[in-house]
């Protein structure tokens, strides 16, 4: 049986499969469907400091092989999370990452400051790339300097591993990736969703209450793979790839393109046990191909 462990430098994961933020609730919702202890890790739903209302419905629309969401980060806030969710999550032997959100730079830091006092957090994923919160999808990850500043500020507040989550809605993902690296990120995760619009022809209104939303799912995989490859070649820190991963082969393609670990998002909705199935498919593929350590295939794309 192949060695599936994934070395992120700052942390060794049981296997390279994490669940993507916002697609796996706070993790506990999936306990009836799979053994959380067998995942590489869980990235919980994005957290602002306080509870958030989120966007008006409709919040979801399906498109060809894709899903547009405009949840708007509805959530419980850090206090409720620390009091009610984290203690439950600590019962599992899996790496828990908190997806940290902020309406401004200060809020990101407040979230981190609060969580620093809490046990059972393997690291932070700085969500600087959510397209569903501000008008026209604005977020720090669209601009190198804004990215560098917020990453550096977060870095200064915590010794925990810090992952910067990048946006695909940019001209040069490499510039943003380098800025996050300069700011001190320990790893990069990508891609967040792609800014999108769906129109209801009969009513001539947007199909989402928020007008715009973020596209995810198999439709975006070719774009996500391209960006993962570009970024992994350009930076020295580990890259965590995601976007449309539905099976073990998809996950391995991201690793071949340079990702040390992957996240599974939309697939969790289609099949709540997807993340674990993907782990199993990756193991089976390695065994069938005589790959002793899955980490051996990272970045081996012959291009």
């Amino acid at each position: 049986m192949a060695d599936l462990s994934a070395d992120l430098g700052f942390l060794r994961l049981r296997n390279p499969v994490l669940t993507a933020s916002g697609t796996f609730g706070y993790g506990l919702e999936f306990a009836p469907y799979l053994d959380l202890n067998r995942l590489g890790g869980i990235v919980v739903k994005g957290l602002y400091y306080g509870p958030r209302e989120g966007n008006p419905p409709p919040r979801l629309v399906e498109t060809a092989s894709g899903l547009i969401n405009a949840i708007g980060l509805q959530g419980v806030g850090v206090e409720h999370f620390a009091a009610d969710v984290l203690p439950e999550l600590r019962k599992y032997d899996t790496a828990v990452f908190v997806n940290v959100c902020g309406a401004d730079n200060e809020e990101y830091l407040r979230v981190i400051d609060f969580l620093e006092g809490q046990d059972g957090i393997a690291g932070y994923e700085l969500n600087i790339s959510c397209p569903n919160v501000k008008q026209n999808g604005a977020c720090p990850a669209l601009f190198p300097e804004a990215t560098r500043l917020i990453v550096a500020a977060a870095r200064a507040r915590s010794r925990r591993p810090l992952i910067a989550k990048l946006s695909p809605n940019v001209t040069s993902i490499v510039d943003i990736a380098r800025a996050a690296e300069d700011g001190g990120a320990d790893a990069l995760s990508l891609i967040n969703t792609i800014l999108a619009l769906a129109v209801d022809l009969e009513t001539r209104r947007p199909k989402l209450g928020n007008i715009f939303g973020g596209l995810s799912g198999p439709a975006v995989k070719p774009i996500a793979l391209r960006m993962t490859y570009q970024v992994a070649k350009a930076v020295h820190i580990p890259v965590i790839g995601m976007g449309g991963i539905m099976n073990g082969a998809d996950a391995l393609e991201f690793m071949v393109s340079g990702a040390r670990a992957v996240q599974v998002g939309t697939a969790n909705f289609v099949e709540p046990g997807a993340a674990l199935r993907i782990v199993e498919e990756m193991a089976a593929w390695c065994d069938a191909h005589g790959v002793a350590r899955v980490s051996d295939i990272v970045g081996t794309l012959q291009a």
Binding site: E29, P57, P58, S65, F269, V270, P272
Partner: protein, 263 residues
């Protein structure tokens, strides 16, 4: 295990756009309650990508039924499924109708329109078991949209139909028929499932008369089990009104919990 990837279809019936599948799923049958639903995968590939929510229509010893209308691509693909083929489904999901309290000898009125009739058969049977006198108001645009009237009658329910064109039963909206009948005396409870305007109108009729009414809401669902926060509507509880998940906190709500203009 709430995910059954291979529930075998053991019977199917069709009436135009409407289809009824009976399938084997012992785990589901053992735990499902009226008003709950399943998330059904409609295609193997990625088109459609998401599962579709379908109510449980009836259940028995090791089997359950769904009744659905073709609305788009997902349900159209589902309708192609043959006897002996399987369904990939997750469930039972949602809370279902609230049946606590004394029902023996009391009047339960069920109001359904079009595909909204689906959960009311399972519900009616459960109310019957509790001794309720079940009356069903079954509405559709035309006679063709009321394929289950006979089945409901055979179950011993008192069935009143309405069609917009008068091709079966009362001519007009089912809510107008209901209003007329309400004049003769209210039931102990109203249970409603159908298109939004029908549900809203029924809710208002019930609230004006102080009749407890339970309404089964629909929403576009990403997951069906509380993970995506995609299915919210504005629901009033102690907190005055928040976006709540229809899949998890519902799909059935008390009429006075729903804030209609924002639902």
């Amino acid at each position: 295990m709430p995910h059954d990837p291979r529930a075998r279809i053991i019977r199917r019936q069709s009436w135009g756009d409407f289809h009824l599948f009976r399938f084997e799923s012992p785990a589901l049958a053992a735990s499902a309650k009226p008003g709950q639903f399943v998330m059904v995968r409609t295609a193997e590939g990625t088109d459609p990508l998401l599962r579709r929510p379908i109510s449980l229509h009836d259940g028995g010893d090791g089997w359950m039924e769904i009744f659905f209308r073709v609305a788009g691509r997902g349900t159209a693909l589902l309708a192609e499924r043959k006897e002996g083929q399987t369904l990939d489904l997750i469930g039972p999901l949602g809370g279902g109708y609230q049946l606590d309290g004394e029902w023996s000898g009391r009047k339960a009125w069920l109001v359904g329109g079009g595909r909204g009739i689906a959960p009311l058969y399972f519900l009616g049977r459960a109310l019957q078991v509790r001794g309720a006198r079940v009356r069903v108001f079954y509405g559709g645009k035309t006679r063709a949209e009321i394929p289950l009237a006979g089945k409901f009658r055979d179950a011993g329910f008192d069935v009143a139909c309405s069609t917009d064109d008068g091709s079966l039963g009362y001519r007009g909206f089912v809510t107008a028929l209901l209003e007329k009948e309400l004049a003769a005396g209210p039931p102990a409870g109203l249970f409603v499932c159908g298109p939004d305007p029908m549900m809203e109108r029924t809710a208002r009729l019930a609230q004006a008369r102080n009749i407890p009414a339970q309404i089964s809401l629909e929403a576009i669902m990403g997951c069906g089990f509380g993970a995506c926060w995609g299915c919210v509507k504005r629901i009033k509880r102690q907190d005055g009104g928040k976006w709540r998940k229809i899949c998890e906190d519902g799909p059935v709500f008390a009429a006075d919990e729903i804030i209609w203009d924002e639902a």
